[in-house]
Amino acid sequence: MFLEHVNPLQASIFSSLAVVSLLLTFVMLGSHWLQNYVYAFAVQSWLIAALSASVGYFAGYPELYVIAVLTALFRGLVLPYLLMRIIGRLNAKRELHAVLQPSSSLVLGALLVMFAFVIANHMNRQSFLAAHVVVMALTIMLSMKFLGFLMLAVRDEAVSQILGLLVLENGIFLGSQILVPGMPLLIEIVILFDLLIVVACFGMLVRFLVVHAGTTSSRQLNRLVG
């Protein structure tokens, strides 16, 4: 396994990239504005692209460069662009009636990070030198998944729900880049196109909702109509 002979410099590069992407998830969690979510998501995707490129460089997987370019292009440019277009068409610029206030969700997110760390610590059975990189990657992967779930649960604007889904997916992607860097290229490409289709479908759904229901907030969509 590649992580068994990672040197301190590589370990610190990986951990700083991963930690900053975790921080950007908190930016999404703590902000009111939909635009900020998209910017944070774009920067996070660029960081993950840099992470794949550096793993590819240090571990000697040339196909990871392709993945890095695809990630930066699709997640870092195309998806944010599509989301910005959707937001531009909406009349909602910010989360008005969040179930949890930003400060409470930050504190809850901090607790979730601790929970993720406890799980990751239990899952780690390796005893080699760079075992902390494994725990770090697992912790950040799990906490980004939890935070994505949290965003899905407590936000009711449609755009922030799709961003919660994307963050969740970014977390899995980040963890897989560090933990199992040799994943077949095809799977990665399939995931990327999956996301693209999700966002495209979502754009159509939002259009439909705006035309027929006049709102995209799930709070307003709780009445059954025949």
């Binding site: 610190s12 951990s15 703590g30 770090m136």
Partner: protein, 315 residues
């Protein structure tokens, strides 16, 4: 010539007492300069103190002994804390083993506790408002402070500021570790809150959102001067802890020659200049938060502290 440890310790305290108004003056001046107005002279806080010490003290009829004793307690607390922390020399000096970081935090809090009591004591409406706001802020800031202390002691395996200073000087990998960087961010949030800066405290004093000014509204003359001086010293002490223990552990006198002491005073002023500039930028770009959003910066600080503790476990 090497100065004796006792003299060095007295120098540390004197440095805090004498230079605290200068820091306040610099921040006030620089804030105005950024907004392209002239601003008060950098020495204005000294003149204010001088003026207040030569005025008559007017005591409200409803005030009890707490009113008289609170400024003295606050000022004395701020005289004790510099003994416990590395201000000029990076090694423990006489009596610096009186308390560790928690002890220093307790003495700092004792000072603000005395002022809170004084605000309630005279029965003035604004005093009560100021005290209740200050207590709410203290309650919100306390978890972050405790977690920062826990984080730094997990990093250094000790509760002494001198050990932390030596650790950060000695190992760059610890200095640049995510745990330490998160601790710096968390402490910076605390620094903004505790030194009466935006986004919580209003830059204009004597208005309806005031917090610290409201508590001391009833004071006048020498007692008011003591309180103002104490709050400037608190700011200076917190800047010292932030610079010498967290952010910039360099440039401190090790042997204790007069020249070295002078050099470390200069280094301290340069470090404060850097931190104060960052604080001023925050104050300029940030508007005051609504009362019900006070918890947001503090929740951010709490988050940074938790992340620091988690990442210190990963090292």
């Amino acid at each position: 010539m090497i100065l004796s440890n006792l003299v060095l310790q007295i120098c540390q305290v004197l440095c805090v007492v004498l230079l605290a108004p200068l820091l306040q003056g610099f921040i006030l001046k620089a804030e105005e300069r950024i907004q392209r107005s002239r601003g008060p002279n950098i020495l204005q806080p000294y003149r204010d103190l001088w003026k207040l010490f030569h005025k008559q003290a007017v005591v409200p009829e409803s005030a009890s002994w707490i009113y008289m004793i609170a400024p003295i307690v606050a000022f004395t607390a701020m005289l004790i804390v510099p003994i416990l922390i590395p201000v000029l020399t990076d090694r423990p000096l006489p009596q610096s083993d009186m308390g560790d970081m928690l002890g220093g935090g307790m003495v700092l809090t004792l000072g603000s506790f005395a002022i809170i009591l004084a605000g309630l004591d005279s029965g003035n409406v604004y005093g009560g408002i100021g005290s209740s706001r200050a207590v709410m802020l203290a309650i919100l800031a306390e978890p972050t402070l405790i977690l920062v202390l826990v984080g730094i002691s997990l990093l250094a395996k000790a509760m002494l500021p001198f050990v932390v200073n030596h650790l950060l000087l000695g190992s760059p990998s610890t200095y640049w570790s995510p745990a330490h960087l998160f601790l710096i961010l968390a402490f910076f949030v605390l620094l903004l809150v505790e030194t009466d800066r935006l986004p919580i405290h209003s830059p204009t004093h004597l208005e309806i959102y005031m917090i610290d000014e409201a508590r001391i509204l009833e004071y006048s003359g020498p007692l008011l001067a003591l309180l103002k001086w104490a709050s400037m010293m608190k700011q200076f002490i917190l800047y010292t802890i932030f610079c010498n223990v967290f952010l910039l552990p360099w440039g401190m006198s090790q042997i204790g020659t007069p020249f070295g002491e002078f050099g470390s005073v200069v280094a301290l002023l340069v470090k404060f200049l850097l931190v104060a500039l960052v604080v001023i930028v925050v104050e300029t770009v940030q508007s005051r938060l609504r009362f019900y959003r006070y918890q947001e910066p503090l929740a951010t600080g709490f988050l940074f502290a938790v992340l620091a503790i988690v990442s210190s476990q990963l090292m």
